[in-house]
Amino acid sequence: MVSQASRIGWFCPYAPLEILLAAGAVPVHLRGEQPTLDRTERYIAGNTCLYVKHLLETGLSGQWSGLKAVVLTNSCDCMMRLRDLWAEYVDAPPLLYLEIPRKDSAAAVIYFREQLNRFVADLESLMGRTISSRDISAAMDRVNSVRALMAEVFERQKTDPPRLTGSELWSLIQQSAKLTPEEFVRAVEARPERLGDGPAKIGRPRILIAGAKSDRPELIHLVEQAGGAVVAIDDCLGLRSLEPAGNPTGDPIDDLARYYLGRIGCPRKPGGQTRLDRLAGLADDYRADGVIFSHVKFCDFNLFEGPPLRAAMNAKGVHFLDLEHDYVFSDLERLGVRVEAFVETLQGGLASEKAAEGGGS
């Protein structure tokens, strides 16, 4: 039985779950979803990331006060400032802060190792126990088993038709972030159909969801209601976090430093061209007819990445929809109209292709 007192919340998947698990903590992925942002308006001015606002609002509400701590990282400007606001105005739980470089050079790895060691020390102090290299290595195996399983799930999505519906895929991603590694593996293995052995729907436009984290299923539902098939989700919790870890070298902190800095999918990292190429590769791999680039309003990173991504996808003949939302999808009707129009365009394209194929036979 997991003690509630050992639960540690996290938001950004750069939080090293391996170290939290090694400390005997239960990492809990937190979603900040509040009906209003009344408290937060006192602390954050209008044009600021709505995701961060919801996190602060939930922190201020006391809803997470039973947690042992929350992990915050310097994911972006707003998350860095959330750290300051949290330290100043949220009574509980306390913060565990981890600074993560954005480069992956040798010097960046050395600096990040130092930060990880500091994080370990902070956690040891919080949990009242030491964390050995062996503990971390064992935890890495546990987390890697989830990544491997999810990688298998995603691999099966490349087939035509995809093996899972978008809703099933989204649920699985959420579970991978919510459950302990053992719970997740057991849950999947106990229900093999969750890996896509069930019936699949054919003839639907294949859509790749990219962008920032989708903590809620509304977008997936909109796509499915409109007749599209979500074949892959390349967001913070999805494909981006599943890049395989390298072979262990015997120094788990060094391995973790290299692994996390080597993940290339997040727009916080320099190298926009790499991400353009990566998304183009994913569109090919998953045979996507369209890409929906979904992000929260006022997310600077994604605001800069959208136009070049659109150009790159259009150049490949892949349709692209840049969809900005308010994190809790309160403007569902408006979004629904855009998604429907997008899916209709894709359906029109597929119908034309089929007609052309028919005409030629």
């Binding site: 602390y43 001015a45 310097n74 400007d77 400032r81 606001l85 100043e88 600077d300 800069f304 136009p307």
Partner: protein
């Protein structure tokens, strides 16, 4: 942009000839420098100088081009056409929610109005959007870019991380210019930097006098735009002259009447606003600006890379909001101010999230804070009535505090 800069350069040359004072010299030199970026023979390095050690660039024969200063402060914004550039950027698909500084760079770039860049140094300091904008512009130009990352923790491995990057940039500059780094010249740049720093420390000390013998608005503009000159003889010449002028003014008593003293944090709008006239009419002196505070340590010319790396880590923009607030309350005490004006720009996430922490810290000192939200460059986000209303209310609060 070239025509706009050329026009302003001529105008300020005349102005400087008629009034050869320190601040005019600074503007004159800066316009000369920015105009040089259109020289086809020059090697152009795009960088944000208030967050990058310009000393390293001065050690090479490159033109240090700060797009924020060129795009925003000088040619277009002052002439009131900043919004046109914003629209040019937005037509490329970039959102209006992006900071106007960065939209302006991308707007110029979309119109092919920027000078070509031979190298883009994208620094991570204060603002991630800046690095993104630089990267987008570099990609559009097909030019190389270097992401310069400054960690926020001041540890030995952080210093080594920064030093390694500075050395890498020096190697890139060697390849770009075809010249090896001349350590003698580099040391001279460090000496220049230290001399200018010492002058600015003295100037800031003089600003504590009552009435204040200079305008912190100009100190702020010099701190931001003049950062391009750290390591050059220009900043020494400008600050030598400014120091002398301010000393003379203080000695002669030729200062403006002063009823209230305010501290300013962090930015100052470059577009025309009612702010300077309101402050002058109501005898409000801006006696210090957060950006003009000298946070940088004296540098060690015998260890220039190590020393610059340490300076990078000492940049106040890397600190927590609490540390900023603490420094502001210290400055408020030292400069004996009646209040603080906080001016952010609409999409500046740091300032959008920092205001309350700063305001609460100042409130603990019994000082009022005015949050003068606006936009530094996009005229569409400026309202004269709203700004005037806020300033009037702030004035009343300061007056009420004084009468108590």
């Amino acid at each position: 942009m070239r025509d706009g800069l050329g026009f302003l350069a001529e105008k300020y040359q005349e102005r400087y000839a008629a009034k050869p004072r320190g601040f005019e010299l600074y503007v004159h030199r800066m316009l000369q420098g920015l105009t040089k970026a259109f020289d086809p023979e020059a090697k152009i390095v795009y960088v944000s100088n208030y967050s990058f050690p310009a000393e390293l660039l001065w050690a090479f024969d490159v033109v240090n081009f700060d797009y924020e200063i060129a795009c925003n402060n000088l040619p277009q914004a002052i002439m009131g056409s900043g919004s046109e550039l914003m629209i040019a950027c937005e037509e490329q698909g970039f959102s209006r929610d992006i900071c106007s500084f960065h939209r302006m760079e991308l707007g110029f770039s979309a119109q092919d109005a920027n000078p070509r860049g031979d190298l883009y140094i994208c620094s991570s300091y204060y603002c991630h959007g800046k690095a993104k904008a630089h990267e987008a512009a570099a990609r559009r130009e097909g030019a190389p870019h270097y992401f310069f990352e400054a960690p926020t923790r001041r540890t030995e491995s952080a210093r080594v991380y920064v030093e390694t990057q500075l050395r890498e940039i020096a190697e890139i500059l060697e390849r770009l210019t075809g010249k090896q780094l001349d350590m003698g010249r580099f040391k001279e740049c460090i000496r220049m930097s230290n001399r200018a720093r010492a002058n600015l420390v003295e100037i800031n000390e003089l600003m504590k006098l009552k009435p204040c013998p200079w305008e912190a608005k100009k100190a702020a503009l010099l701190a931001l735009g003049g950062a391009v000159f750290w390591g050059s003889p220009v900043l020494v010449e400008v600050t030598d002259r400014l120091k002398e002028e301010i000393q003379e003014r203080a000695a002669s008593g030729a200062t403006r009447p002063e009823r209230f003293r305010v501290l300013w944090s962090p930015w100052y709008p470059v577009q025309p606003t009612v702010i300077p006239a309101f402050m002058r009419d109501n005898q409000i002196s801006m006696v210090m600006a957060e950006t003009a505070d000298i946070w940088r340590p004296a540098l060690d010319e015998n260890h220039p890379f190590e020393s610059l790396a340490q300076m990078v880590l000492d940049n106040y923009m890397l600190r927590t909001t609490q540390e900023r607030a603490e420094r502001l309350t210290t400055l408020a005490g030292e400069y004996q101010v009646d209040g603080l004006v906080h001016f952010g720009t609409v999409a500046c996430y740091h300032e959008n999230t920092a205001f309350r922490v700063i305001a609460d810290a100042m409130a603990r000192q019994g000082l009022p804070v005015l949050d003068l939200d606006g936009d530094m460059t996009d005229e569409r986000n400026y309202s004269e009535q709203r700004t005037t209303g806020k300033l009037e209310a702030f004035l009343e609060i300061m007056a009420a505090n004084r009468s108590e």
